[in-house]
């Protein structure tokens, strides 16, 4: 089975309003898939469905063939799905290092397995490696609440690396970032490519070009088109619905 993530006829309705309608999607192992769509197209809702934040009304979600539809969040996470939120969400009162350390503990997530002190040398090295990859070495001892917006985003990416899930969902990883920060984020994401399967929601088309292989376009809760960057750029329906007549600028 080389499909990492498979959605089959996934639907959700909120009080009669169908936010996601019969979405089927299949992401191959190691692929980076970008989800594109206008506001309200259902991108974040789709991620919420996959990660268990909201329960679907129809359809199924599978990770490497394992059915995880409507499981509680922590079990979906254990099944191998990691998620980064649109609004960066880190543990604000812990230091940067501790944030990553917590994410590292997820191999044995029960209370009793964690009634131990300190971290192993292996894990220690991994934490330092992640701090270096995300450029957070200088602020390792800083409380996460005092990080800049960009640093907070990178910290959350670092936590994902520590968690090391098979499938990573990224919700607008460059939202609110400067140009320099965006390109550094693209670096980090390109490094995740191959090792992990990624599903990325993004608006910034320049950024999408930098990282994307395949794009799926959502429109009003349905899959509108799917294909390579070039195919999507030239798709008339996508232009009409989302990109505007000028294409990817």
């Amino acid at each position: 089975m080389n499909q990492a993530l498979t959605l089959n006829g996934l639907s959700v309705a909120f009080g009669g309003f169908k936010a996601i309608k019969d979405v089927s999607l299949s992401v191959a192992t190691g692929e980076l898939r970008v989800l594109l769509g206008a506001n309200g197209a259902g991108k974040t809702t789709l991620m919420d469905l996959v990660s268990g934040k909201i329960r679907s009304t129809e359809g199924s979600v599978r990770v490497f063939g394992q059915e995880i539809t409507n499981w509680p969040e922590h079990r979906i996470a254990r099944a191998g799905i990691g998620r980064k939120f649109q609004i960066p969400s880190v543990f604000r009162d812990l230091t940067v290092e501790q944030n990553i350390q917590v994410a590292c503990c997820n191999k044995h997530p029960s209370v009793f397995a964690n009634l131990r002190f300190g971290v192993s040398a292996d894990r220690r090295r991994r934490i330092v490696e992640i701090l270096e990859l995300t450029g957070l070495v200088e602020v390792a001892r800083k409380t996460a609440a005092f990080l800049s917006h960009g640093q907070t985003q990178w910290l959350e990416l670092g936590m994902l690396m520590a968690q090391d899930p098979k499938v990573i969902l990224l919700d607008e990883p460059t939202a609110g970032m400067t140009h320099a920060e965006t390109s550094k984020t693209a670096d980090i994401i390109n490094r995740l490519k191959g090792r992990h399967t990624l599903l990325v929601v993004e608006h910034d088309m320049g950024f999408v070009r930098e990282i994307a292989q395949h794009i799926t376009v959502l429109h009003l809760g349905e899959v509108l088109a799917e294909g390579s960057v070039a195919e999507i750029e030239n798709d008339a329906r996508v232009r009409a619905a989302y990109l505007g007549s000028k294409g990817i600028s």
């Binding site: 922590h74 917590v102 503990c105 971290v119 070495v137 001892r141």
Partner: protein
């Protein structure tokens, strides 16, 4: 070892040493009073563990304290000379006799409808065990329900607050078996391995000092585990923790239960020291007072919360017994609270942390040593 860690260890060491040296400086009466404050110190630790580390503000900690107290008090009541000399095979508490219906047999099994519940408490060990088991079970069930339902913040406080009042009501209402408002008085002494714990003896003081030390050490060790770090992460952002694969309610319930066990333990000691158990332990004001102790001492510091509890009670006793201040002592204590909350929002413990951090900055202005070392390791 980091400087901060050394200072922390030294603080714990000094405090525990002081506990065991105190008997050299006062008489038995004074020691009895201090022993009572040490029990309050344990409550401070219990509050800090849930409030500071888990972000769970329990406004009903008195429930666990009271349960612990009543369980042991029942055993000690049956061991008292009056209960033993009622002329029956089994000891019978005096209040049951006073309220017995005419013709009721003078026997613990059936003097009234509920009195059989007292039977196992004839064994002191049963009372001691129940003093921990009952709070733990209540906390376990309560925690599992509350946290699985994802109730958090102020709503947890409201539920715990309501629960302690509810149990207090039931306790007072079950007068035939609890002696209602009057509580359980005229108790026997706790006897363990031939040692009788006379409340006005050094043995009892040492029992409390040892219990507090043990509580502090266990709580400190627990706070240093990875589980505690994950718990703090959960406090900061539950959802994030869930998405990392942690079963959040289990973590919260676990620490809630530990806190309840400490409170139950403290309740039992309180009975040994003061020789009574009463529904006032479950008064709202008592549970709130515990939270205030922890706030003054520093909710995110176990030792701070413990010292806060002891210090406030010492000041309170001192002020309320000074003739000139007899009328004003409540205002003075209130003023201390207000000043602490205004100027030291993280309490005494937070103040100590800030001082250490400042000292550390002066010592080594360069990048943190540990990270530097870690970097060279991979280089």
């Amino acid at each position: 070892m980091a400087l901060e860690r050394k200072i922390q260890l030294a603080a714990y060491g000094l405090f525990i040493a002081a506990l065991f040296l105190a008997p050299a400086f006062g008489d038995e009466f004074w020691l009895n009073r201090i022993a009572k404050y040490l029990v309050y110190g344990m409550l401070g630790v219990a509050i800090a563990l849930t409030w500071g580390y888990a972000g769970i503000l329990n406004l009903g900690q008195g429930l666990f304290f009271g349960m612990g107290a009543y369980m042991l008090a029942m055993s000690l009541k049956l061991a008292s000379p009056t209960s033993l000399s009622q002329g029956s095979d089994t000891p019978v508490p005096d209040f049951m006799l006073w309220n017995a219906e005419p013709g009721a047999p003078t026997d613990l099994c059936c003097i009234n409808k509920g009195s059989f519940l007292w039977l196992p408490f004839q064994h002191q060990w049963f009372g001691l065990a129940m003093g921990i088991v009952v709070p733990v079970v209540i906390a376990g069930v309560l925690g599992a329900v509350i946290f699985r339902k994802r109730i958090s913040g102020v709503f947890v406080s409201i539920i715990t607050l309501a629960l302690v009042l509810l149990v207090r009501l039931v306790l007072v209402d079950a007068q035939p078996i609890t002696n209602g408002f009057n509580g359980l008085t005229d108790l026997g002494w706790l006897t363990i391995g031939g040692i009788e714990f006379d409340p006005y003896s050094r043995a009892t003081y040492y029992l409390c000092a040892a219990s507090l030390s043990l509580t502090l050490i266990v709580a400190r060790l627990l706070a240093d585990t990875r589980a505690s770090l994950i718990l703090q992460a959960i406090r900061d952002d539950q959802l994030r923790a869930r998405y990392l694969g942690f079963n959040v309610p289990v973590y919260q319930t676990f620490f809630f239960v530990v806190s309840a066990a400490i409170a139950g333990f403290a309740g039992m000691l309180y009975v040994v020291v003061t020789e009574f158990a009463s529904p006032t332990f479950m008064d709202l004001s008592f549970s709130v007072t515990m939270v205030v102790w922890a706030a003054v001492g520093g909710r995110s510091s176990l030792l701070g919360a413990c010292i806060g509890a002891i210090l406030i009670n010492m000041i309170e006793a001192q002020v309320s017994e000074t003739e000139a201040l007899v009328e004003a002592w409540k205002a003075i204590i209130g003023l201390i609270f207000v000043l602490v909350v205004l100027f030291m929002p993280r309490g005494l413990g937070g103040l100590a942390h800030a001082l250490v951090a400042r000292f550390q900055r002066d010592e080594q202005p360069s990048a943190p040593a540990a990270v530097g070392a870690a970097r060279s390791e991979t280089a």
